[in-house]
C-alpha cells in the first residue's frame, strides 16, 4: 500500500483490513526496535511494549490529528507505555539516553532538513553509528528502509524489488534514489552530523 499517514489512518477508521495489515507489519517491528534500543537486555519486554503501544494507538486512533508523522506519534505512545510499565523497575531510569530522545533531534527528524556536503563515513563510534543507522532506517517513510535493506543487504536486483513492491523497475530506481537521500538526511540528523572521524 502506498498511503500517506493521514490516508492510512482514514482507511483504518473505515475498517479497511488491508490497511490494518499494512499498519501492523509496518509499525510493530519498528516499535519493537524502538523499545529494544532502550532496554537492550530484555527482548520480551520490548515485544510486550510494542504490542501495548499498537493496541493503545488503535484504540485512540480517532485522536490522531496528523500534526506529527504517524511513527512519531507512535513513538510518543511507546515512551508513555515504557514509562508506565517501568515505574517499578530501574531499567528505564538508567537506560542510556539516545540521540532520538533529544527534542531538537526529533524535531529535526520531522522536518528532515536538507544538509549538503556531509560524508556519512565521518561519523564516529561504531556502536553509536550502528544504532543511528538502524534507527534511521526505521524513521524513513515506507518503503524506503526496506528498499535499502533489500538492495544493500540482500543484494536483490531492481527487478526483484520491483516485483516485490508491484512497481516498475524504473519507479523502483527513482524510489531508491529518494530512499538514499532520505537516509542520508535522517542518519545525519540522528548521528549529529559530526564533521570529523571515520568509521572504524
Amino acid at each position: 500500500m502506498n498511503l500517506t499517514d493521514g490516508e492510512l489512518v482514514e482507511a483504518l477508521l473505515r475498517g479497511d483490513r488491508r490497511a490494518f495489515e499494512h499498519f501492523f507489519h509496518e509499525y510493530y517491528p519498528k516499535l519493537y526496535r524502538f523499545a529494544k534500543r532502550r532496554m537492550p537486555q530484555d527482548a520480551a519486554a520490548a515485544e510486550d511494549i510494542a504490542q501495548g503501544t499498537l493496541c493503545r494507538a488503535l484504540e485512540s486512533l480517532r485522536g490522531y490529528r496528523g500534526e506529527a508523522a504517524l511513527f512519531t506519534w507512535l513513538c510518543t505512545l511507546c515512551r508513555r507505555e515504557m514509562s508506565a510499565r517501568w515505574d517499578e523497575a530501574r531499567a528505564w531510569n538508567t537506560a542510556p539516553r539516545l540521540a532520538e530522545e533529544d527534542p531538537s533531534i526529533r524535531a529535526a527528524l520531522e522536518s528532515l532538513l536538507a544538509r549538503e556536503q556531509w560524508d556519512p563515513l565521518q561519523a564516529a563510534g561504531r556502536e553509536q553509528v550502528r544504532t543511528s543507522i538502524l534507527a534511521a532506517l526505521d524513521y524513513l517513510p515506507a518503503p524506503y528502509g526496506d528498499i535499502l535493506e533489500w538492495k544493500y543487504l540482500r543484494d536483490m536486483s531492481m527487478g526483484e524489488i520491483a516485483r516485490r513492491l508491484g512497481r516498475s523497475p524504473k519507479a523502483v530506481e527513482s524510489l531508491l534514489t529518494r530512499a538514499r537521500e532520505a537516509f542520508r538526511e535522517t542518519f545525519s540528523t540522528l548521528s549529529g552530523g559530526q564533521p570529523e572521524g571515520e568509521l572504524p
Binding site: F20, F24, Y32, P120, I133, D138, L153, R184
Partner: protein
C-alpha cells in the same frame, strides 16, 4: 576512504546489518491483540453531533431544568455503568441485581452492581474487549465499576492479554485488593481463605494503603487471616488451569496464519511453543487455516490442525512441539 555518498550509504547499511525482528510468537500475539483493539475501536462509534434545537426553545428548556433542579430536593443516585459483557456460558449461570435474578446469556451486558454467579455452570466475561474474566463452578463475582470487581466466592481466572496490557482492574477479596500488573492468574475465595496463583506476569495484593505482597509467575499464595502459605516454581499448565482454557473466547481461524493458532493455544494452556527447525517456523507463518474449530477440545484442535496442514503437533509435558522433536 570513499567519497561517493551512495557508496558510503551502502557501506553504512552493510556495517549495521539487518534490523532485528521480534519473535514470530510475539508477532502473532501482537497481531491478535492489535486486531482486537482495532475492532474494539471500530465498534465504538464516534461521538454523534447533537441535533440543533432552535435557540429560543433550548434556552427555555435550560431555564426550566435549572428551575426544577434548584427547587427540587435532590437524591443522589449513582448511575449504573456498563462494566463488562458475557462472552461464554457453559451450563447455567445467573445474573443477580438486588432480588432480581435472570439467566446469563452470551452478549448480556453486565452493569455496575450486578453479580454474576455460576452454580454448576461456568461463565466468561470481557471488560473493554481486552480483559478476560472467567468464572469456575460455584463462583460469585460482583461488578462494582469499570475498574473494580469483588470476588465473593469461588475461582476467578483473569487474562489481561500481555504484560501491562488490558485496562486496570482491582479485584477485592477477603485478603485484600488484588491488582493485575500482568497477565494471567487465578484467585480462589473459599470462606475466609483466599488463594492467588499466577501463571504469567505478576499481581499485587494490597491490604489497606500498603502494598502487602507481590505474587509472581509460578507462585501461589494462600492467605487465611494472618496465616500465609507460599508455593513456588509451579507449572503454568495442568489441571488447575484447564478449566479456564475451556472458557477461552473461540479463535476464528479462517484465513489466519497457523503460527497465530499455535501461539493462541500455547498462551491459553500455558504451554511453551517449540519449532523443530526454522523451515517449519516459516512454514507455520505461511500456512493459512480455514474452517472452524468450534466445539473441539484442545487435543482435537491440535489433531485437526496437524491433519489439514501436514505439520506434526505433539504435546509433551507442557511443551507444544511443532514438527519433529
Amino acid at each position: 576512504m570513499s567519497t561517493d555518498p551512495d557508496r558510503s550509504i551502502e557501506t553504512l547499511i552493510r556495517l549495521a546489518g539487518e534490523r532485528e525482528m521480534p519473535s514470530d510468537e510475539a508477532t502473532a500475539r501482537a497481531r491478535a491483540a492489535a486486531e482486537a483493539s482495532w475492532r474494539a475501536m471500530l465498534a465504538d462509534k464516534p461521538p454523534q453531533r447533537r441535533s440543533r434545537l432552535p435557540l429560543a426553545l433550548a434556552a427555555a428548556l435550560t431555564l426550566a431544568v435549572l428551575g426544577w433542579y434548584a427547587w427540587t430536593p435532590r437524591v443522589v443516585v449513582q448511575p449504573s455503568v456498563l462494566v463488562a459483557r458475557v462472552v461464554t456460558v457453559d451450563g447455567a449461570a445467573r445474573i443477580a441485581r438486588g432480588r432480581e435474578l435472570q439467566i446469563a446469556r452470551r452478549d448480556h451486558d453486565l452493569m455496575s452492581g450486578v453479580i454474576l454467579q455460576t452454580g454448576q455452570g461456568r461463565a466468561a466475561a470481557t471488560i473493554a474487549h481486552a480483559l478476560s474474566l472467567r468464572l469456575d463452578h460455584d463462583t460469585r463475582l460482583r461488578f462494582d465499576g469499570r475498574d473494580h470487581v469483588t470476588l465473593l466466592e469461588g475461582s476467578l481466572y483473569v487474562d489481561s492479554g500481555g504484560l501491562g496490557l488490558g485496562p486496570p482492574l482491582t479485584i477485592s477479596t477477603p485478603a485484600g485488593d488484588v491488582r493485575h500488573i500482568g497477565t494471567q492468574f487465578q484467585i480462589r475465595v473459599s470462606g475466609d481463605t483466599t488463594g492467588i496463583r499466577v501463571r504469567e506476569g505478576r499481581v499485587a495484593l494490597r491490604r489497606g494503603a500498603t502494598l502487602a505482597r507481590t505474587v509472581a509467575a509460578g507462585d501461589a499464595l494462600e492467605i487465611r487471616g494472618a496465616e500465609e502459605h507460599w508455593r513456588h516454581g509451579l507449572p503454568s499448565f495442568g489441571a488447575d488451569w484447564e478449566w479456564s482454557a475451556a472458557l477461552a473466547p473461540a479463535l476464528a481461524i479462517e484465513d489466519r496464519p497457523m503460527v497465530e493458532f499455535l501461539a493462541w493455544m500455547a498462551r491459553e494452556h500455558g504451554w511453551q511453543l517449540h519449532f523443530g527447525d526454522e523451515a517449519l517456523q516459516r512454514q507455520a507463518q505461511e500456512i493459512h487455516l480455514h474452517g472452524s474449530l468450534d466445539g473441539l477440545d484442545a487435543a482435537a484442535m491440535l489433531a485437526r490442525v496437524a491433519l489439514v496442514t501436514g505439520v506434526p503437533l505433539t504435546l509433551d509435558d507442557g511443551v507444544l512441539w511443532v514438527g519433529a522433536r
